[in-house]
Symmetry: C2
Subunit: 213 residues, 2 copies
Amino acid sequence: MKSTRLASLPTIKRLPSYLHLVENAQAEGKEYISGTVIAEELELEPIQVRKDLAVTGVVGKPRLGFPVDQLIQAIHTFLHWDRDHNAILVGAGNLGTALLGYREFRRRGMNLVGAFDLDEKKIGKDLNGTPVYPLGRIHDIVIESAVRMAILTVPSSHAQAVADLLVKAGITAIWNFTNVKLKLPPGVVVQKEDLSSGYAVLSVKMRLRSTDR
Amino acid sequence: MKSTRLASLPTIKRLPSYLHLVENAQAEGKEYISGTVIAEELELEPIQVRKDLAVTGVVGKPRLGFPVDQLIQAIHTFLHWDRDHNAILVGAGNLGTALLGYREFRRRGMNLVGAFDLDEKKIGKDLNGTPVYPLGRIHDIVIESAVRMAILTVPSSHAQAVADLLVKAGITAIWNFTNVKLKLPPGVVVQKEDLSSGYAVLSVKMRLRSTDR
DNA sequence: TAGATTGTTAATCGATTAACAATC
DNA sequence: TAGATTGTTAATCGATTAACAATC
């Protein structure tokens, strides 16, 4: 295995789907998986899969493909999913609760130490194994557990105010599920999930198909 | 206004955020908004905003920018959000319920005529204004309301089976929130939302920052 | 008028794809 | 051995960015 290199954003976005597939292959007892097979499953070009996997530094074997165990390990390492990241979630509504329930994130190194909400009825409960606290406790729990990452699933109207609170507490990475473009100090990284853009893409696909014929 | 043209996928994905911003400008009573201002707000390059907006066919005025009302109308038209799209949602869990609660989709032409779930306790209820039916009723409701679009928020283990059911009922567009790569007949368009890839991007951003210093 | 902004054409940049020798 | 697959280098493709005349 060679050292890891830089990768383009599209490559980074494809890595989790490779990981998912390779883990399935592992579960089936396979020792190797070829770029050709991965490409076929995901409807990509084999050359693209090979190029993408090159960033992990894993060396494949001609005729066999890539060693499954090594590949899983190397993708985890590349994405920094080989270590624990303490995280909190703010806004324990339906979306927040859904995210708390995703077992997958835990396997990718995300360690949710707490969820925060305004709703008195939720506070003190356990949502999918994560305790719910009042917003006022964000600061001390972030400090106490050395939390760097926060998932933001509050209503848009509260997004910026909560983000400010998070930054003040020491959060340096925000996974933003609101439709608000957050204003954050330099050094704080953010990943915005925009459902509307997915809907836009689907809409255009539908339009293109109907105007085709 | 010139006729609409083709657009690249990145452009399509950015259009909803422009729309959001321009609607805010409209709410503030503004008549025009310049590409420069939009770019500043979204941390993009002004030239990119101008290029993107060109696909809508809206002609801007030098010194003033683009006419707000026309732009809103034209983006809607471009994305086919200027007409109603009957849709159903399958899997009324936390994620599904969250999506049913997004008022925004309704304003973008999505008309959710029903949600479907296995859970007896949910059936017959109204979730955020959408009635919940048993899975068995998918077929007749899709036919009855001429539904083409379905949102898939079922557990991964049921994703392919439900997708098959949807296609059989006449669904031709699937917004797939599961982590399953669906096998679908030609003519059925699909948009896959992959939360893991967002988490991967955030993770790499965190890694790059920490290795920088 | 002066100058900010648009819209178009050209240049650059970066990602994808092709070609092919190396290899197990 | 024969042939499928890797990995590298080069070519292509497409998106972003630059330059600048037109314009209100």
